[in-house]
Amino acid sequence: MRVELNELTKRWGNVTGADNITLDIQSGEFVAFLGPSGCGKTTTLLMVAGIYKPTAGEIRFDDRVVNQVAPKDRNIGMVFQSYALYPHMSVRQNIGYPLKLKKSPAAEMEQRVQRVADMMGIGHLLDRRPAQLSGGQQQRVALGRALVKEPSLLLFDEPLSNLDARLRLTMRSEIKRLQLDLGITSIYVTHDQVEAMTMADRIAVMQEGKLQAYAPPNDLYERPRTIFIAGFVGNPPMNLFDVQVLREGERLLARRQDLEIELPPERGVRAAGKEEIVAGVRPEDISLIPGAAASSEGAQGEVFVVEPLGRDNLVDVRIDDLHLFVLADPRQPLQIGDPVRLQFDGDKLQLFDPETELSLLWT
């Protein structure tokens, strides 16, 4: 089923929960709503579910406006962060509840509950109460309950945040696989960008009720459209700093005190005419060369802190008053205070307008 949100807005008095959200979701697509807490992603999801009534705008399911359709008539399944299992019912009753409300015949109900439970790997737990299950098992029950009525749309509200890290990884791939197999259109709300990046076909990044970007994960990562997205997507986050744009003959330079980066012509052209811009560079796009070599190439700085991440070292390099995070090979022996040289990959450099906070490259 295709879902379309059209200038969707939710307000409570002066408080705006979701502001003018417009996006469309293709049939079978997996879309993540990503943003910090309080950004309006859950509000939007609950409007799609029919729990909240939009103040303005439209929700369309397959071209049909469903603003006034009650949640129970929308044929959706939803999985909650708190699982929201009914504590006084057994697992069987929990999963069977949507069917019971549809007045399905007992035999069919039994069969479908069993099938869904087996699919979720909880077939042997059907007579337990939710309180007797582990967090992962409870989440599978919740998922089973959402799937049992064969919904045309699946909604996830931070379903994995209450699980421990390892289980989260397992469930992540299971949900993704399940969604691919069943082909159900899905919306997945999360504040964890790794979840969003790994699972979603497209990500809607939201901030303060507004839709900041709506694009496939790689696109968001490589072509961030705003400063907010650049800083929010990617871990460790992108380095963002103010620079001045200077022209030296043919060359275009971005300078900040002793730091000088040459802008490649095709990118520099977008910055021409601006004096001050914000530059962004990801930690993996900076190469770190130990020692104070004589070469003038790159910028000279000193090691402030080294954080070992296992596979890499995250090095905080100080250049005057600027701190830059750099991913470095852990085999390089680095001590606090060591002089280092940084080289920037100009082709990976992001440029933003400090006034509008929009990218100079991708708009």
């Binding site: 909240y52 009534k53 397959d62 049909r64 008539d73």
Partner: protein
């Protein structure tokens, strides 16, 4: 998916229950009213009229008197009732076909059935008047009772119809959903809170008493209020009320309550719990038994418990203590009940004080009393204010224990408080008659005072901030 949506739009949940109610109600009404009426009109002959049974006669508003003449009861409006039957029948039939209900049908049914109910009610009273002399009484009343019930059915049918019809309009549906939940409570509150408040006021403007009960009420303006304020004992009662509220509040509902909360917090946990529990006893003891206990405590020798103790201590003066010191006992009896409320509130407030705060104070060298003075009491400011306002309201209107203990005595108005005066004037055979209207005046002023205090109370406690918004929009 799309089929689902279409279905939900045309088929309202639980559709069709209303039509059967409407049909049944319509049939009953027609049976009771229209058939005898038609017979009366078609064969409009006095002899036929005379041969009507009591039931038929009464339901068409005609009653035969003993001297052979016909008496037309006052209910021209009674024709509304068969009309209601026809409407009910028609709408019921119309709704036998699916997808037909519309809000106006429900509204129409409601209007007609309410109007008819009023008419039938009028007819019923009229027939009762006649029935005091005539033999038709019993049957006629049965017929009208039946009609009345049928109209209630019609009302229910109309409501269901309205609901079914409007369930397709989401804005309507939300309000109606809440209405379903609120209806029983709202009806009871209206019938036993709001209507009585209005009746109380109207009553206070009349001279109704048990002496002129069967006559229509006579409007006397504000005479009852004038009489009340010029009553010889008015100042005394006012003083009594103030004394009762202030003393009980000060010494027990706040004073003792605070003391008990502090004391039970300073003994071991289990003992504290035990004592708090014991203090609940007065509250859950039936008032009648509780008062008997106090009377027995205060009795003269050799029965009284207090006097037995005094005897052991060698005290000579051993009277029956309640008439001796009525105010002491009024305050004691009420205070022992009232103290537990404040005690529970204060205790939970004290338990909410972080232990760190008290440890810090102790480390700084504060003693028990200093901790109470400098830490506990300042933190109890809000609960204190809450208990004071809340209990002022409760005490102002309570009189059950005084009624049982002293009934306002001994002697004239010694312990009579405002609420008790209102009650006794109106509902106790006092000086020979129930002066409902005069008592109502006393009562209404108290209601006004209470309402004013309540508004202040809601303001002080910023009531609006305490109400959380629902996190589901009703669709």
């Amino acid at each position: 998916m799309s089929t689902n949506l279409t279905e939900s739009a045309t088929q309202a949940p639980g559709a069709g229950r209303g039509r059967w109610l409407l049909l049944a109600a319509g049939l009953v009404l027609l049976g009771v009213f229209v058939l005898p009426w038609l017979r009366f009109v078609i064969i409009a002959d006095q002899r036929v009229a005379l041969s009507l049974t009591g039931l038929q006669a009464a339901t068409i508003g005609v009653v035969e008197t003993t001297d052979g003449g016909l008496l037309y009861s006052s209910s021209f409006w009674l024709f509304l009732a068969p009309l209601a039957g026809i409407v009910g029948l028609a709408l019921g039939a119309l709704n036998l076909f699916p997808g037909r209900s519309a809000p106006w049908q429900g509204l129409l049914t409601l209007l007609v059935s309410v109007a008819s109910a009023v008419a039938v009610w009028g007819a019923f009273s009229a027939s009762q008047e006649v029935a005091q002399k005539e033999k038709v009484a019993v049957e006629a009343q049965w017929g009208l009772s039946l009609a009345f019930l049928a109209l209630l059915l019609l009302l229910a049918g109309g409501l269901i119809l309205l609901r079914e019809a409007s369930s397709q309009k989401p804005a309507f549906r939300g309000a109606l959903d809440a209405l379903n939940f609120m209806a029983p409570g709202t009806v009871l509150v209206i019938v036993f809170f709001f209507l009585p408040a209005i009746i109380l006021f109207i009553l206070s403007l009349t001279d109704l008493s048990s002496a002129n009960f069967s006559e229509p009420w006579t409007y006397v303006g504000f005479d009852n209020y004038k009489r009340m304020f010029s009553d010889r004992f008015f100042p005394k009662i006012l003083r009594n009320t103030f004394q009762y509220v202030a003393l009980t509040l000060l010494f027990f509902n706040v004073g003792l309550a605070l003391l008990l909360a502090l004391l039970t917090a300073h003994v071991s946990r289990r003992v504290g719990f035990l004592f708090r529990l014991l203090w609940l006893l007065p509250r859950i003891t039936p008032s009648v038994v509780y008062i008997v206990m106090w009377q027995r405590i205060a009795q003269q020798p050799p029965y009284g418990i207090l006097n037995q103790f005094l005897g052991w201590l060698g005290v000579e003066n051993q009277p029956y203590w309640i008439p001796e010191a009525p105010w002491v006992f009024v305050v004691l009896v009420n205070g022992f009940v009232g103290a537990s409320f404040g005690m529970i509130i204060f205790t939970s407030a004290i338990e909410a004080i972080p232990a760190d705060l008290i440890i810090a104070a102790k480390v700084d060298g504060a003693g028990d009393l200093a901790v109470i003075r400098d830490i506990t009491l300042p933190l109890l400011r809000w609960p204190l204010l809450f208990v004071v306002t809340y209990q002022t309201l409760s005490l102002l209107v309570s009189f059950e224990y005084i009624l049982l203990l002293t009934n306002g005595g001994p002697g004239l108005f010694t312990t009579e408080v405002w609420a008790l005066t209102a009650y006794k004037r109106a509902l106790q055979t006092y000086f020979g008659s129930n002066q409902w209207a005069y008592g109502a005046a006393w009562g209404f002023v108290l209601v006004l005072i209470g309402a004013t205090l309540s508004v202040i109370y809601l303001r002080v406690f910023r009531f609006n901030d305490l109400v959380q918004e629902p996190k589901i929009d009703v669709l």
